[in-house]
Subunit: 429 residues, 3 copies
């Protein structure tokens, strides 16, 4: 296994304990740590700002929270798991009966050892999340409930990194930083995105990269409301990066139209890697692709995931922890995404530069030693040329001639060097 998987997993350990929500200091601290890795620009948008059909909510911060039983024992403690408190809980400090308490408790009968992840962003209430096992053991009596939180005018925080390329055309990566201590959904996304940004920065590139770390939904709506026109003009392909850390599956979630460059690239790479990936329609969406692909915005955004949100048992519970996400799982996602980006960078519409088949022999493109391997290369070269008709792009040709793009890159370089192909401007067609 390559090194990035381990590094990403270590980086994740560092971010894991922070209590994030859609606003507040948890997000800020997360973005600052990421800023230590890549030159992120951190933006603040004030509460009350109108963003499309929405409004930036009040900022939420929490210092402490617990439940004490009659004997004063801390039976639930926010400091042990930040999932114990409903995200955006209003402050509370009172003594309640078990009956009253039950109205503010959340647990999952079917997963008695899991603390569920519950939010209440747009309705003011308070609540605690506990394992069902613990809930069953609660006795009649008085309980002191204490949440030291604050809802106040503040701001929504997000991070943005624009990496300029030769072209103004953009590749877009979006991930979200609003989940408390959960691993696959969602710390794997920001961690992988950080390492992809590092990798992009370390390579020469044709396209500009727009990479954002935002709170889900309200963050993408906010970001779109400020950048939509540029994004619609420039973005040629993008990915919403989420749930990329476990080892159990590969998943592909299509854009709304299903036929954007992002979809084409994702399907080509996943298919030729012979990964047994699951394909999900846009009806099974659930993250920021909901905004990016909405009518009138229609960005070319797809998702490649490991186990998809909502499709694995630990999803949105305390069981989605650091054991679930592995260096191997993260590495797999890193490899797929870097191959996708490489393909986007290399994807062109090619056109053969002569009539009929060229004479490969006189150019030394015909192998002198005829082996099975060299025969395959010549066949791939001739098939590439047969479809290099100024209409098919590299992905189309790879699909048609059934050869992975990895095997075509050196063939293309050779043909290019020999003046046998040219690229055609797809916008001018």
């Amino acid at each position: 296994m390559k090194r990035e998987g381990e590094l990403m997993h270590q980086f994740m350990e560092k971010l894991y304990p922070i209590c994030r929500s859609i606003t507040g200091d948890g997000v800020r601290k997360t973005l600052e740590i990421i800023q230590g890795m890549i030159p992120l620009k951190i933006q603040e948008v004030p509460s009350g700002t109108k963003v499309f059909d929405w409004e930036i909510p009040k900022e939420w911060n929490i210092r402490d929270a617990y439940i004490l039983d009659e004997e004063g024992r801390k039976i639930v403690d926010f400091k042990k798991s930040n999932l114990h408190v409903v995200s955006y809980s209003a402050p509370v400090d009172k003594v309640v009966t078990l009956d009253e308490l039950q109205n503010h408790l959340y647990s999952i009968e079917e997963q008695p050892d899991a603390i569920p992840y519950i939010t209440s962003y747009y309705e003011e209430r308070w609540g605690f999340c506990i394992t069902h096992h613990q809930r069953m053991q609660l006795k009649e009596g008085k309980y002191r409930v204490y949440i030291d939180s604050e809802l106040k005018d503040g701001s929504l925080t997000y991070g943005e990194l624009i990496i300029p390329g030769e072209s103004e055309e953009e590749v877009f990566l979006s991930t979200y930083v609003c989940h408390p201590s959960m691993a696959n959904n969602e710390l794997s996304g920001p961690v992988l995105t950080t390492y992809l940004a590092k990798w992009i920065l370390s390579n020469s590139r044709k396209y500009t990269y727009r990479i954002i770390f935002i709170p889900e939904t309200i963050g993408s709506i906010t970001y779109l409301s400020r950048n939509m026109d540029t994004m619609k003009t420039n973005i040629i392909a993008g990915f919403n990066i989420s749930c990329v850390g476990d080892e159990r599956a590969y998943s592909y979630l299509s854009s709304r139209s299903g036929n954007t460059l992002a979809d084409k690239v994702a399907l080509n790479i996943l298919t030729f890697k012979k990964l047994d990936f699951k394909s999900y329609s846009f009806l099974e969406r659930g993250s920021d692709e909901r905004q990016y692909c909405s009518p009138g915005i229609d960005l070319p955004v797809a998702s490649i995931m490991r186990s998809k949100f909502g499709e694995y048992p630990e999803y949105h519970t305390s069981l989605d922890n650091m054991d679930l996400v592995t260096p191997t799982g993260l590495q797999g996602s890193f490899d797929i995404y870097t191959e996708c980006i490489e393909l986007i960078e290399r994807n062109e519409t090619y056109k053969i530069n002569c009539f009929g088949e060229p004479q490969l022999g006189k150019r030394g493109l015909y192998p002198t030693l005829s082996t099975k391997e060299s025969g395959r290369i010549v066949r791939n070269m001739m098939n590439f040329l047969a479809y290099a008709d100024g209409k098919n792009d590299l992905v189309d040709i790879s699909n048609t001639i059934n050869v992975p793009v990895k095997e075509l890159y050196s063939i293309i370089d050779n043909l290019y060097k020999n003046g046998l192909i040219v690229t055609v401007d797809r916008n001018a067609m």
Copy 2:
């Protein structure tokens, strides 16, 4: 079961005994009785009138017909079944041998108890139709054959009802009234169409309805020859209504192109009702869709039937009688057709009125009580909005998000009321 099925069946009993053909008093009487239910305008087109490639034939009427055996017994009697005489039989009154008689007899060996339905519209001859069972028992001897019929210059009669709507765009319903006493094919058609017309008249409507009761083939050709331009300009969807009375099947016969609004609506309604319907291609056509969908006319006309003409054993025999057609069978057709019409009335191309997903909560569109049912409604609403892109019409969205239109109507009303969607003029696209 709803009431219409019973009412239709009773109405059918009244029309059943009348001897109809493509012209003559049987058609007139039938249309007059229907006129008692809906404000039908009855039209007469003179014999000899040129209609496209055809000419209106002479008018045929019959008063009586029988066969007497040597003992003077009336062994075949038109008064007992009007199927006994070949439709458009010339008058005859003579004594013939059994051998001569056989040349004018029609029966079905495989259905020995059925009187077949035979016509001879465009060639002058006479004939009797009897059960094969009876034919086998005929003895050598003399028979008196008597048909008191008349072929004379007269006219072709049809009924027309134009129900104006807000729009000049039209929905077209066509049925035929040229068959003698048979039930599924074809008294079910005019009876259902009468009740659909009553239902349309009793509701407010967007579209104009053009509803016609005609003799098959020559009637549709005649009607088209007089109204084709208006019809081609105005009709957005239509149905040829035939064979809609038995309980054994649902059938869909596509238009020639297969992708008109009539086809889309019929398939959507039939599919989501989870009826196990049979789908027939235009190659299996057989009624007036032959004219409506012919090249150069190309009206958007499909058919929804119960057991399709030619596909059930009693077809075109005396066995296609009032026992075969049931209130339940008719009601099923009524329900499907009214749902189709409702869908045509409500079908629009919708467009979401904001960027990104709207905030349902602040508009009270998010249910306060979260149940399985309310979750489904919210999911359907969000999916509806995701595809309300100004390109998909309601049928497209229903198909894409896999939700019956019935469940979308109230969602659309809610979204509309809240200003979250607008309709787009499909002609202006």
Copy 3:
């Protein structure tokens, strides 16, 4: 069986012994014999002429070749099989050890009784091809190798026959004459093409026919480099005729796009003949379609074969001999190709000449005697008319209504005679 199969097989016997290559007297002699059958125009293109990315090579001729063992016995003799010498072998006359000889021998271990067919057009070397069986028996010792061949500036020879028609639009037939004594691949092609040319000459025709007999690859490139513009303007359909002589299979190889008129016609004829043919994609190409369908040339050229090149065990060996190719095999190809040409000649875009269905009866198009056969004809006629909408051509209609074109020809003649259909200019649409 028809007569052409026998005649073609006899003609093939005459051409079989000639030693052909991509240039030289073998090609000339072959073309002269064909010229005895059809008025072929023979063209010479000098060595060194630039043709697209290629150059006409030196001309190669061979008089004799053999290998003598130490006892002076002629163990390999070109006069017994012209496959014994690598095509384009340089002259040689020397004594070599067995070890040195082995470097110049070609045989097939898996087919020990076959002499392989080997060429070395663009690299100067010499070599002998023998059975693996013989090779295994060679003893240590000295061998005299003798090849009396000549590589000199000369020319590339090809034959061309333009058969003018009423229209400048062309049907194109191409076959190749560069293989020494092998039967299915490739003497069957030029032999069948000769008989197709005779058949075309003997019939009246609408289209002009361009028929060429060329060496493979360099020949098609040469021909294209001289005629491309006319060919691109005029050719509406073409076939590369190769491997058309055995009885074991029918094969269809698509054009690059797969949807040209040649493809449509080939698939229609093969499908309705209910031959169990194998369909090959353009990725499995191997003959001059490589040039005809290359990007920027894009001629509508497909292939119908019996056992396809590369797909039968005797391919490119001495086992591909006169026993493999049979009169029946050749006749099958002749029948298919003549049916394809007949269909191309008759293919039109038809349009019904009236609104609605015509009245067949008054024109005598309705059979007076109603039989199963006549019912089928009427049904086919009505179905033909239903799709004669000025958009579908004959192939489309045949496919849609599922009736072989052979059964539609007389129907079309009848409808045409009665003024019920017209043809529509597909270019004017």
